[in-house]
Symmetry: C2
Subunit: 225 residues, 2 copies
């Protein structure tokens, strides 16, 4: 059976889960602790980190490592339910947005807020530092302003069609929302987009996540928040 | 005319140049100082950094930002001279290798060696710090060991076919070679691969780069080094 190795509060892992669910691929999910992966998992991937997808193909299995490879692989698998537009510019925009989330957003926001709240909790390194969280939140405001600017001009992050760009956004924003970091009142355009994202069946797994040591705010699962 | 905005000693910019050259696209190149970009350039891209590709299409131009979007866009443009394999696994491997260079290699090696040698020279911040360079070089050894492991099993970085994965490698390794950081004697498998890379016509631009304030070692342009 196809298996995705992932960690629930990990934006890259979430993107892989959402992309595979968008393509209606039935998979088994196995949780990996990114800070203490098993030897068995490390043997599977040079990256040493989730997400890793093991697909069953004729004659055996293949192992696909990393969010970028998995999302493109999921989309490449069939032309049904495409996650990239037919239009070259929208396709390029989707990949630009993915890269933006994976580098800029990740460095400026996740490496402050997720590191403090998630990594410290899971690894038992104590309480988050307020100054670090504050800095991450300032960067988040800045980046939500950019997403607002985009969403005031387009239906979806990369253009007129739901795409890998939106999946990238959903992976990151849903983690921050789980941690109570999204002040939705202040971001109506992003909220409108995220409401549409949340109502997609591909989000069900992510919205049903329970993670020991964490309690999501009540609105997290609410489609009408 | 198609224009690529780039910086010569910038791995991401080099990848864009090589990918566009592989697809035999005639382009005009314009150098951007990443640490002091013009307002005109900043108006073109939310990323605020090269590479940025402005393509001429029927009815106008489109602007493609970032190495990932540009390389995939170049490849998507025609099925001739493909930069990704027909095989799903090799395609996934190519994208994994690209992500590995853009995140892991970049964080562990470029942000030490290129930051110290290139950024400091261009921005006038003084001489590189030996301790930082030393750390970057240690990481480089570690990562060249991994590339050796791959190249002992495959003709090219992602499999049996030249791909975007090799272009990612060429972008990074050629910058380090320009700076005299590649001790080729110690890395025969990587050297064999890089010899094949250097002999490709798409590398001509990169090998002919002259950058004020820098002088490449004599072997840099040599195809038989």
């Amino acid at each position: 059976m196809r298996t995705l190795y992932h960690f629930p509060l990990h934006p890259a892992s979430r993107q892989a889960r959402i992309a595979l669910a968008e393509k209606k691929l039935k998979i088994r999910e196995e949780v990996i602790d990114p800070w203490n992966p098993s030897d068995e998992f490390l043997d599977m991937t040079a990256e040493g980190a989730p997400p890793v997808f093991v697909d069953v193909i004729s004659g055996g299995t293949i192992t696909i490592s990393g969010v970028r490879a998995i999302c493109e692989y999921a989309n490449d698998g069939s032309t049904r339910l495409p996650l990239l537009s037919d239009h070259a510019f929208e396709r390029a925009e989707a990949r630009r947005i993915c890269a933006w989330f994976e580098t800029r957003f990740s460095e400026d926001v996740d490496s402050y807020i997720l590191s403090e709240k998630v990594e410290k909790t899971v690894t038992g390194l104590g309480a988050p530092e307020t100054a670090v969280l504050r800095e991450g939140r300032e960067h988040l405001q800045f980046h939500l302003t950019y997403l607002t600017w985009l969403l005031e001009r387009r239906d979806w992050l990369a253009g007129n069609q739901f795409s890998l760009g939106d999946i990238a956004g959903a992976g990151h924003i849903s983690c921050l929302d789980f941690l109570g970091e999204m002040k939705w009142r202040d971001w109506p355009a992003v909220k409108d987009w995220y409401q549409r994202i949340k109502s997609r069946p591909s989000m069900r797994g992510v919205l049903n996540d329970r993670v020991p040591g964490f309690r999501a705010p009540r609105h997290y699962t609410d489609l009408d928040f």
